[in-house]
Symmetry: C2
Subunit: 260 residues, 2 copies
Amino acid sequence: MSYGTLYGVGVGPGAPDLLTLRAVRTLESVPVLALPRSSDYGRSMAWQIIEPVIRACPEQERLLLTFPMSKDPERIRPYFETAFSKIGERLERGQSVAFVTEGDPSVFSTFIYLRREAPKRWPGVTIEIVPGVTSITAVPAVTGIPLADGQERIAILPATYGVDDLADVLLKFDTVVLMKIGSEMPKVIEALKRTRLLDRAVFVSHATMAEQRIVRDLSELGAQRGDCFAMVIVSRKDRSGVLAGDVAFSSVADLAEERA
Amino acid sequence: MSYGTLYGVGVGPGAPDLLTLRAVRTLESVPVLALPRSSDYGRSMAWQIIEPVIRACPEQERLLLTFPMSKDPERIRPYFETAFSKIGERLERGQSVAFVTEGDPSVFSTFIYLRREAPKRWPGVTIEIVPGVTSITAVPAVTGIPLADGQERIAILPATYGVDDLADVLLKFDTVVLMKIGSEMPKVIEALKRTRLLDRAVFVSHATMAEQRIVRDLSELGAQRGDCFAMVIVSRKDRSGVLAGDVAFSSVADLAEERA
């Protein structure tokens, strides 16, 4: 059978002008846009991001697919099944389908599940991934605090799956990115206090979007829940030279000091 | 003094159509493009990426700046000094300068040093960062192996600064991204053998570029040096459920098994 192509298209962290040229071209060229949303009655954030920048095409289908936010497989399984069936109907008709993902399709994205399932359901189907700007780099862009340079190491943890060893990770990595904060905020704050890194942490939600929120004093947040677009980035910026080897400098600040 | 704006513009991993709309607009609107290159006589990779997609503008200055690849501060300091002085002359004239960085400006980028130095040299200067597609997500896009989903954790290490504890990191993280491989390749391979993860590793150089190279059997590489665009990504994909808490599934493969 000759299937249509399945695209996973990353559309970036939220600002429509952070789509890539390739994403725009791909989204404008396919007959079917698959648009995830978190409830049957909610808006699709993916559609909200792309609508202002892609050329309207009356013949193009906008296939809204519901993926509830949940860690319970009993609850989400039927939704995935329905979504994959609908996508399969189009691919089997020879139509190409672009599955639109916020951020990048390879980082904590629903597309990953579709990508894995695709070869089993549609043997030989062509799959193309269009990488996008991930929120992991959008956050440093809006805070002005770089993710890593020189010899620095980065750890990225999905906080909703537990932060029990966070203090340990904070001691070993220079930048720690906590994604999917959810209800773990109090535990995150506790670990930051324990490692005396609370003042090195920044909370960012909806980076680059109109709703963007940056909180530099995390104690303000107290027991607030982080939403699924919330991240905490901890930047030690205090360990140049300690990790390994013959490192001479890791910042121009160091250069300037040496120069003085 | 009223300075021009200093932009750090990420132009993505190499394919020109992975520039964002914002990057294109920014690069076309400024009077000065600052283009890093690694030697006085070499080409600028940054210019090579953007040339095919930005509108030629005869009045726009292309300021080529040399930043040699080196960890020796004695060697690089005068180059940074020259580059910052040239950028400063333009900013002081009120001209906006876009410093073009491959990948993203917040991830192991020369712009980070400029970003730190800027407020000291040009007090009150406006700095804007345009995030780009980082090679950290371009590599999974070309290999088809996702970076992380569900509860998985990611570690990003610059290999040139030592990989002595790599075996330990490989045991604690689901995906390990080794950047800046350089001459560390033999040590990387040794650590992968020790942790029996050699077959979970992929070597990628120049992801998304014409020169792209993907090697899935790392023993082929032997003692070859990785260039500065080379990365090794190790994906365990074998620890669903072990890290913490009440995790139910981390892939549709698991879903399918439960369903069967």
